[in-house]
Amino acid sequence: MANIISNLNKAFDSRIRLGIMSVLMVNDSVDFNTLKELLELTDGNLASHIKALESLEYIQSSKQFIGRKPNTQYAITDEGRRSFQEHLNALEQLIR
């Protein structure tokens, strides 16, 4: 049991980070506003969680311009996908 719990990733303890990762697992890339609406968050709240996931290199961002408006797209990294999958497996084993 203790062994399985240690497989749970602390970075995904927060429901918001879990949400961000879930969205990025099934979408190639998602912009800031879409994430905000999906997770029903404020700008600041979302930005701080994104920053945390970016510094772990679980997600990556790319800036582009749509007309004159800057638009930031987020995507999951290989490392992020692997870590999230491990976390999912651990969750599933725990409830079994």
């Binding site: 429901r15 949400g19 879930s22 969205v23 979408n27 879409t34 997770l39 999912l88 599933e92 725990l94």
Partner: protein, 200 residues
């Protein structure tokens, strides 16, 4: 334990919400089905049952048939948009998102191809095969679009394809298969989806 279960539920919900067109309403299916049955009844009793019994010539009959089909299509799409928009509002989903556009695009290509092909068949006088043709292309479109929306759409698509093949085999009863496919099937699947997803 509770938290882990809740986490998994949240993950699944967020994955679906962000990648699937979930505003599609079961009521859209039910109204499309009713409209199709009314349209097909008109075509059958007014034009097809006794060919040549109307005062119109063959070309005029073709135009009436086309207008009937277009009216069914427009009314069905109108209701589908209206009910789906209402559902999106009720469930606080975004009506136009990536998944909505993917669904429309992936359904649209086979549907448009089938529509143009049907028009060609109509004006070449191959009226008998049109019922089969519309069922086949519509079914293929649904299967194609189903990965962006509810899984029931996949099975509805398969059903339409089977009916389309049957309509080609029993060529002179095409209208019966068309009415089952576009009428009865829409009502049945619409009701199932309404009960399963909309009432919650």
């Amino acid at each position: 334990m509770e938290k882990q279960l809740e986490d998994i539920k949240a993950i699944r919900e967020m994955m679906e919400k962000s990648s699937k067109f979930l505003s599609l309403s079961g009521l859209a299916g039910i109204t499309a089905g009713i409209t199709a049955i009314v349209g097909a009844s008109f075509a059958y009793f007014y034009l097809l049952r006794y060919p040549g019994a109307t005062d119109f010539n063959r070309f005029q009959e073709m135009i009436i048939l086309l207008a009937d089909a277009m009216l069914v299509l427009i009314i069905s799409i109108g209701f589908a948009l209206y009910f789906s928009w209402k559902k999106a509002k009720k469930k606080k989903l975004k009506f136009i998102n990536k998944a909505t556009l993917s669904t429309i695009y992936n359904l649209g290509i086979p549907l448009l191809t089938g529509g143009i092909f049907s028009l060609i068949l109509l004006f070449r006088g191959n009226v008998e095969i049109i019922a089969s043709n519309t069922l086949l292309f519509y079914g293929l479109g649904l299967v194609n679009a189903s990965k962006y929306t509810f899984e029931e759409i996949h099975y509805l698509g398969i059903t339409e394809i089977i009916l389309g093949i049957a309509a080609a085999i029993f060529l002179y009863h095409g209208i019966i298969f068309w009415t089952i496919g576009f009428g009865v099937c829409h009502i049945v699947y619409g009701a199932i989806m309404y009960k399963k997803y909309d009432l919650k």
